[in-house]
């Protein structure tokens, strides 16, 4: 066997001995962005389909969490920046080749829209709410009249937001674990699934809960399919991607990935949801929390593990 020993004189902080330039802020944002994308996708989709009355939680209430998730996520992103005072440079240009530029502009559009959307339902949620100024009442009337337009914009932007969280990583071909186009659809599915879990958890209505339980089951199955595909693709690819897959197949992320993400985050909540649909009493909070936990762990593990994988030379 040919042995190889590589000794590098480089010791740059954050780069060596292994890359660790992105910390907790990025996976947290990827999670919150996915949650917001999921919530806004369902709220706008079911509004457009005219299900406001049948699915009140999905259309009217759960979306109040979306602006919160977006603001906290944006703050996490801001904390990640190391040249913070120059953050406005993001909005001086549109760079089509950079997913981060796409994401920055998407967030710029979807965050105010999410606030406007929630504001249009605020007086239904809190009947005693007083906008104080007449102009705000006029604005409320305006946004209620144009809800359909806003819903279509939110539907489109939420899909872009959900996919973008994955494409952001998959655009980096230097990190073999991320460098697969499956990551976009996978993160979108996972984001929709966390959004559906929150709606299911918040809903008081049995039919609505059952619907989102079923939606969640389909999304979990899709996610598992994508993950199996992901590993099949890696194992049939180049050495660096085989190495990336091996981090999860016996390597240092094996336990955390298969236990926290697959078993606790996908398989167990799926079993609980099936049991609940069959009529067993399962507190809905348990599968919902497991799905959210799995989604968060998935992003942390992907960001951590991706930074370890690299080209060999």
């Amino acid at each position: 066997m040919k042995e190889e020993l590589i000794v590098s004189g480089r010791m740059n902080p954050g780069i060596d001995p292994y890359l660790h330039i992105w910390h907790w802020q990025i996976p947290l944002y990827l999670f919150l962005g996915g949650v917001a994308a999921g919530l806004l996708f369902f709220t706008s989709l079911y509004y457009i389909l005219g299900k406001e009355k049948e699915l009140p939680t999905a259309v009217k209430w759960a979306n109040f969490l979306a602006p919160v998730a977006l603001v906290v996520g944006l703050f996490a992103l801001f904390l990640d920046l190391k040249h913070k005072l120059f953050f406005w440079q993001l909005y001086t240009t549109i760079r089509l080749s950079s997913p981060m530029s796409w994401g920055a502009w998407t967030l710029m559009l979807i965050t105010p829209l999410a606030f406007v959307w929630s504001a249009s339902y605020l007086r239904e949620l809190v009947p005693s709410w007083d906008w104080k100024l007449k102009i705000l009442y006029d604005f409320e009337k305006l946004i209620i009249r144009y809800r359909k337009v806003i819903a279509w914009m939110l539907l489109l932007l939420s899909i872009i937001l959900g996919i973008y969280t994955g494409i952001l990583l998959s655009a980096f071909n230097a990190r073999p674990l991320w460098n697969t186009s499956l990551l976009g659809p996978l993160f979108l599915t996972s984001g929709l699934s966390t959004g559906a879990a929150i709606i299911m958890w918040m809903s008081k209505d049995h039919a609505e809960r059952a619907l989102f339980s079923k939606i969640d089951l389909i999304l979990i199955a899709t996610e598992l399919f994508f993950i199996i595909h992901l590993f099949m693709g890696f194992l049939a690819s180049t050495q660096v991607q085989i190495n990336a897959a091996e981090l999860f197949l016996g390597g240092e992320f094996t336990v955390s990935f298969w236990v926290f993400v697959i078993l606790l985050g996908l398989v167990l909540p799926a079993i609980l949801e099936i049991l609940e649909l069959r009529g067993y009493k399962v507190p809905v909070a348990i599968p919902a929390i497991l799905i959210l936990f799995g989604g968060l762990m998935f992003r942390f593990i992907m960001v951590e593990a991706g930074q370890i994988t690299r080209y060999l030379y």
């Binding site: 040919k2 890359l19 190391k82 120059f86 920055a104 230097a174």
Partner: protein, 177 residues
Amino acid sequence: MRYAMAIDTKKCVGCGDCVVACQTENNVPIGYCRDWVVENVAGTYPQIELEIRSERCNHCENAPCVRCCPTGASYIVEGGVVLVEPNKCIGCGACIESCPYDARYSHPDGYVDKCTFCFHRVQKGQDPACVSVCPTNCMYFGDLDNPNSDVSKVLATRKFKVLAPEAGTNPKIYYLI
């Protein structure tokens, strides 16, 4: 014009002069480096090969760092040199993640920093600091499009390789083997 560098792995002794020259010339903060030396030992005793490489930013023609930069702070100037404009850089780390050579680092002042091919010297017709100090003269710098440049002449006569060609970056640091 395409600036490039060829480094003779058969002549390099790994003294680290290029690293120190760069740190001095470019005021690189203490504890950081824009170029570095890699020692690669391959084989089993007694058939052992040692390759010593002075590595740095490859000033790729298909530069992933420039592609991923959301603000345009990473850009390519004439001669194909990849540079960073500190006042446009937000320190998001996308370019650091995108570099297969890990040639970039986050400067303590916040922006991202890396080898510039000593662009300030090259503009004056001088060689980069690392090339000019090399005691074994193992580094060649010049314009690939000019057949009479040092780098073109040595690449015409010697076998060479680039690092991670499968990354698709078209790197412009050539290692003579």
